[in-house]
Symmetry: D3
Subunit: 70 residues, 6 copies
């Protein structure tokens, strides 16, 4: 599968915190940067997401904002 | 200002493509990775976003997905 | 690639309308239902999206709302 | 009420899983397709969403991505 | 129709700027506050959105962030 | 920090409901209007969000829809 979302950063899962319905997955994308994804528990189970897994974080361009220093 | 969005990656603007109402801003976040933001032309003007500007890309965790290789 | 987004509906592209930076892609998912995606022109070019192409529409669960009749 | 969101698919609720603050509602939209919505528990209570209820799933076009087979 | 999205603020359209595929609609919600919506041209035509129209701006809770002063 | 998101409404936190991973923060933006944000527990802790705190709710224009009366 190839998806239209422009932002695809590869990394390694460092942490999976499961809630009642929603999990937080933290991914080390290198250079000391961490990306956090809030996804369903079903997705975590379905994709067998665990600490150490190589993954790609995916974000649609319309969900990216730009900030500057004042 | 400090914002709740968990994902804040610093980088440098490499490209601004203006459309009729929407602009695409591409940011080099290092390590060869580019993040694309689709934002309003008003924001580009208001923040004076131009090639070479140091910026931070901001993404809410609920907008991040995880992909794996099959 | 396999992605965490829960909603993946298969269909056929019926229409691609290109704007200055953003395209609207309409997909017939069967049963008379059309799904419209607003994506970047770069994605349309990169995935070679044209009328008649078999595609999958992908939506994260946190982007789905529920409506009822009054 | 009539809303600007382009994607409105009718269906029947097959499942409501309540978490501490967030619920997952699964809707059968016909043809074997299920759409999952992640919404607040308050919304579930307010709209009285239960298994068997006829609902409409609503998604903004800017939240729809397109995927193709490799 | 009643929708699960928690944030529904009433106001009056003060401005509609049409792009090639995407329009920006600015709504005065009172108290000097303006809310800007980026929606498809099709929605603007379909809902007959023009300056002076009474509308409701609708936002899903998972799309709201919180910022504080440093 | 200054962010590209067009919609920034000031208000006061009236309520914080913590779930297992996700919190709901309700903000009184004046004129009887409440805005609800669904954010991570980490953000609530990091920004020390409590009842009574002065905050700004932030929403990207592409996440705003428009509704009209039938």
């Amino acid at each position: 599968m190839k998806i239209s979302a422009r932002n695809q950063l590869k990394g390694t899962v460092v942490d999976v915190v499961k809630g009642a319905t929603t999990s937080h997955v933290r991914v080390d994308i290198g250079g000391g940067a961490i990306v956090t994804a809030s996804i369903t528990n079903e997705s975590v189970a379905d994709l067998k997401i665990v600490k150490g897994l190589k993954v790609t974080t995916v974000v649609k361009s319309s969900d990216v904002m730009i900030a500057i220093e004042d």
